[in-house]
Point group: C2
Chain length 656, copies 2
């Protein structure tokens, strides 16, 4: 692998987002999501199931330190899921990113106090998982497959790294280094250690983030061990099952141990399988290890898995995980719109995967998919007021079906306040709050811009400090203004992504023509840059009708409407019931309109389509000669904004 | 209700079927299904799960009569399902019908010996359910909701009646009369009795059949009580739950007690709900009671339920029960072709319902639906060699989906030899063997012909004996020749069904014109009939493209190909994989060909359709402007004959 082109993404503390589209989302995360989640973690939401997350830490701390009293009854037991600790870890990660964007001393104080509690729960040998601390430490590390110990650890590491990077405070980071030491003592290749790995992946990528800070080879080695050991014979999960005298739920399913991506060595995995969130977390860790070790076989697996997802198993919204059973990938070209799982977290994990691949090879396809997921299948997970969430992101909803068809029970018709398994809301918070890190990356001689977010960033290219600003009304308008500030002139390449959806664009430098070469989805301009340089990218952004590969049974004869990176949908609120009766028709001259006061400000699309004429007869079948279509005005809204009005049908794909 | 027009179907012993289409099916039932099932009931099928059905009777008999020894270890327990007795009961019913058609002394001897065993198992008070006899009689009648006691009783009565009618032997019939007495002592409106009814219906219609023979009001009264009491408050099943300190599986489903059609009084039920087989068995019993009691409110419910099924919830094949969850009806216009349950038994039950409605009002729609079910969704349940069976009858199959999509696990891609819950094979046997009773019915002055089956029947119309013969190559050809033989001339009305699918027909009497009036789907000819009269009905039978009501989301933009009563399908064996990519196109001049040596002799349909052109690109989405269709020769076979070659895709509905 040629590692000389590897790029590094600009970290959060070097960029300030002020984007007209995304800043309001970040503000909602800051003012709604993070405070609400803190209340939830502390069991202070009236009417909601208690989380027990903070109580578990307090109780663990009290038991370890009899002098402490957080007001929890010492006789209480562990509460919530076996992975409840991770809810806190994800929250602290999101809060840390938010602090990096918007300093908030009160929030920082809350974090510090919470970290004190958490650290007081840590055991003398570094162990820190309240489930086993409270239910019996003798059983720790005995059920890596199901009990999410290493998953909680991974999220904890991510939270600790994020807070260290945001606030410069090491307390939680040091605690996690001690916890990593503890895990390293119990799990690894050496004789006497458990030859195991996480049942739910994330520790792999988290340990690499830790290694980036500590530079301690031990952290890299443990991450690599989790990757290398996974799926090797004899299968650790099978051995563990034998020891525990139990079995696994997925035995009776077609994916078997591939539910955990553990049915074969990861380098032999070329098709995305099993639980989608686990999968993309693993693949992200695999890319990290491939990048750091130059492992060609591992890189090949990552490329194949990426291509399989993007070209065979991904919805047009960037949703992944077609099947509710196992919240899993299913099989190539199986993309049902109505029974899809499409977990918010899975699309977020896909963004992680894309970002990491882009660091190895800055190809536009990675940011194209990242952007597709961000503007569609990710933010659809949150209501426009930041107060409720989708776990599942369907592309077609019929409320009656969700109520009466058992196979669509998971397809909710309105966003929920909170979940027993509360992974999606904090995951949304952490990706939205950390969006700044996805905008630019640099290597020795090139500065790349991947996402068009209004922002000011400080980067170092070829040893020079460069300030790069973006001004845009993207995604509603196609103009992206880039400005440069430098102390001195500097020779370097600037690459700006030209999205694959865009067939026509102009690139203007300081008001005039410029030379660029198009490569792998980027317009590359090599020149001597100086302060005050202004680059204007204007992307042609027409309404576009998309069709799916005819191998996709569910989309045959249908079309989806997009404009720029935004996928549109029809809602019953605008188009009446029976959306499946509608046809796009010729859709000549669709009307594109920015509506400032509608759905927090969106561009809507309207055109004259068709509708199957209702029958006079109250019968089910008749001679097909009588088919009739009538004109019907259709109005589409951005997919992410659906379900922010009254309950009703929704569809992304409409008959041609 | 005007009861003067009620008709009586011609019984099996008055008709001899020699139909070119159906006689081979009956022969398969006689030579394959009935012998195979007898072996199965006696646990003599190598490699198959034992049935235990006969063993349960033998064991019960041995325990009741210590002098008996059938070679069963007395220490053995009850085997198989709680309703295992019903498998024997359904088998004896089918065998009895077959004997009526084709005398077989060896089979009759087998039946008599089996009946001896069964009667030896009967308890002194008439009780006869081996599950409770073998597990504890003190618990009998304590779980009417789940334990199928009255269901087994109902099937037993049907079997006993059938054998009595076929062979004139009363032994089993008398045993069932004693069993009915026993039930009557325990269940009924009187104080001290249980105010219950069957969890799985069938006893209602069975008791009416018993009443037809015995004339004993007690039998009618019990049937009527089961109908009247069902769903009344306080709900018996709820009371029973309380007594047993248990609950019901469907509590967490949208149908609640309507799974059992017991959530409200039956006269308040106007939409088909819950378990489909139970539903149509109940509705059949309801029609019987409405007919015998002239109950208008009950009749209205029956009409509404029929209309709801036929106009809102029935597949074009006559399959019903859209949902695998609960093997149930779902909701109006919800007709998924790929996840359908469409149990063979449910379509058979629909035939029972249709036949009974037709007895009250001879409207063509009843026989139209009956015929639709018979030629399509019922016989699709059996392989052409009579050796394997479908429980579920899908209208679209993709083998990979059945293997990998959990929600299609029930959709088998090949017929099975036998089932743990073996209801469909004997149900198929009993309807095919008793087809003769569906052909004609009579009332005081009219003889109706509902089905076009080659046959000779003796009927009494207006006090006169009439022999009516049918000669036809239906459904492959549209000509139906009717011949009459009478001792003397007789004035009566003859009504022959003109199927709703037929837009053009000719009716020729003795080679010349005839006067007829069309009424409710029948051509009625009132005249003086004489021996030797010949009537020639010729139904125009073009290939017809059907479309579904646009409220049916799953069939939008699709068409189904039919010819006469036969629904056609495409199989991968003829059309290659990816059937969902095919379009019917204009389909000018479809080729219709009888192929004698193909699939036991079928008419196939071929025409030039279209196919979505495969993409060069290995991507999922592209600009819709590039759509392309190419010509493709399509070949269709009758739906019922699918899955008799190699495993592959199948679809009934194809894109227009």
């Amino acid at each position: 692998m040629d590692t000389s082109k590897y790029t590094t993404h600009v970290p959060l503390n070097s960029i300030k987002i002020n984007d007209s589209f995304w800043a309001p989302f970040m503000e909602r995360v800051r003012t709604q999501v993070i405070p609400y989640q803190w209340e939830a973690l502390n069991d202070r939401i009236p009417g909601a199931e208690p989380s027990y997350a903070m109580r578990n830490f307090k109780l663990s701390a009290q038991r370890s330190h009899p002098e402490l009293n957080y007001g929890v009854d010492n006789a209480a037991g562990h509460g919530g899921m076996v992975f409840q600790d991770s809810d806190f870890a994800k929250w602290i990660e999101a809060a840390a990113y938010s602090l990096a964007w918007y300093p908030d001393p009160a929030l920082e104080k809350t974090l510090d106090e919470a970290i004190d509690i958490v650290c007081n729960a840590q055991q003398p040998d570094g162990y820190l998982d309240t489930y086993y601390i409270l239910t019996g430490l003798e059983k720790r590390f005995t059920n890596l497959k199901d009990n999410h110990e290493l998953y909680c650890f991974g999220h904890f590491v991510e939270g600790a790294v994020a807070y260290y990077e945001a606030a410069g405070k090491r307390k939680l980071l040091d605690a996690m280094i001690r916890y990593a030491d503890c895990i390293d003592k119990h799990i690894g290749p050496e004789e006497g250690k458990l030859h195991g790995y996480p049942g739910h992946e994330i520790a792999e990528l988290a340990l690499v983030r830790l290694y980036n800070i500590t530079g301690d080879e031990k952290h890299l080695k443990l991450a690599k061990y989790f990757i290398d050991q996974r799926g090797k014979q004899p299968l650790y999960f099978e051995e563990e099952n034998k020891r525990n005298n139990n079995d696994f739920y997925w035995k009776d399913s077609f994916f078997q141990f591939q539910y955990y991506q553990a049915g074969k060595p990861v380098r032999d995995q070329h098709v995305a399988e099993g639980h989608a969130v686990r999968a993309v977390y693993l693949y992200s860790g695999m890319v990290d290890i491939a990048r750091l070790t130059g492992d060609e076989a591992l890189m090949q697996a990552c490329d194949d898995l990426w291509n399989n997802i993007v070209n065979r198993q991904m919805y047009i919204t960037g949703a992944i995980g077609q099947s509710a059973y196992g919240e899993s990938f299913s099989y190539d070209y199986d993309l049902p719109n109505d029974t899809v799982y499409g977990e918010t977290c899975a699309s977020i994990g896909l963004a992680f995967f894309a970002k990491r691949l882009s660091a190895i090879a800055p190809k536009g396809v990675y940011a194209d998919v990242l952007e597709k997921a961000l503007f569609n299948g990710i933010i659809s997970g949150m209501s426009l007021d930041g107060k409720s969430f989708f776990y599942v992101n369907p592309l077609e909803v019929i409320p009656e079906a969700s109520q009466k068809d058992r196979t669509r029970r998971h397809v909710k018709i309105e966003r929920q306040k909170w979940f027993a398994c509360a992974c999606c809301p904090p995951n949304l918070a952490r990706i939205i709050a950390s969006l700044g890190t996805y905008v630019h990356s640099v290597n020795a001689d090139t500065l790349y811009t991947h996402l068009f977010l209004g922002s000011e960033a400080r980067v170092k290219v070829g040893g020079r400090d460069v300030k790069i600003g973006i001004e845009t009304k993207y995604p509603w308008e196609g103009h992206v203004g880039i400005s440069f500030k430098l102390e001195d002139k500097a020779q370097f390449t600037y690459g700006i992504r030209i999205p694959a959806w865009c067939n026509k664009f102009t690139l203007v430098l300081n008001g005039g023509a410029t030379n660029y070469t198009l490569k792998d989805g980027y317009a590359l301009i090599h020149r001597e840059w100086k302060s005050g340089d202004k680059l204007d990218l204007t992307l042609d952004m027409p309404v576009t009708f998309i069709e799916a590969n005819p191998r996709v049974r569910e989309d045959i004869g249908k079309t989806a409407v997009t404009r720029g990176p935004v996928v549109y949908c029809l809602e019953e609120a605008d188009n009446g019931p029976g959306l499946f009766k509608l046809h796009a028709g010729d859709a000549k001259e669709p009307k594109v309109q920015y509506e400032k006061d509608f759905l927090e400000g969106v561009v809507t699309i309207s055109f004259t389509g068709k509708k199957e004429t209702d029958w006079q007869e109250d019968t089910l079948y008749r001679n097909a000669a009588n088919t009739a279509l009538e004109d019907k005005e259709l109005r589409l809204i951005p997919y992410y904004a659906w379900a922010n009005r009254k309950i009703g049908e929704m569809t992304v794909w409409v008959n041609k």
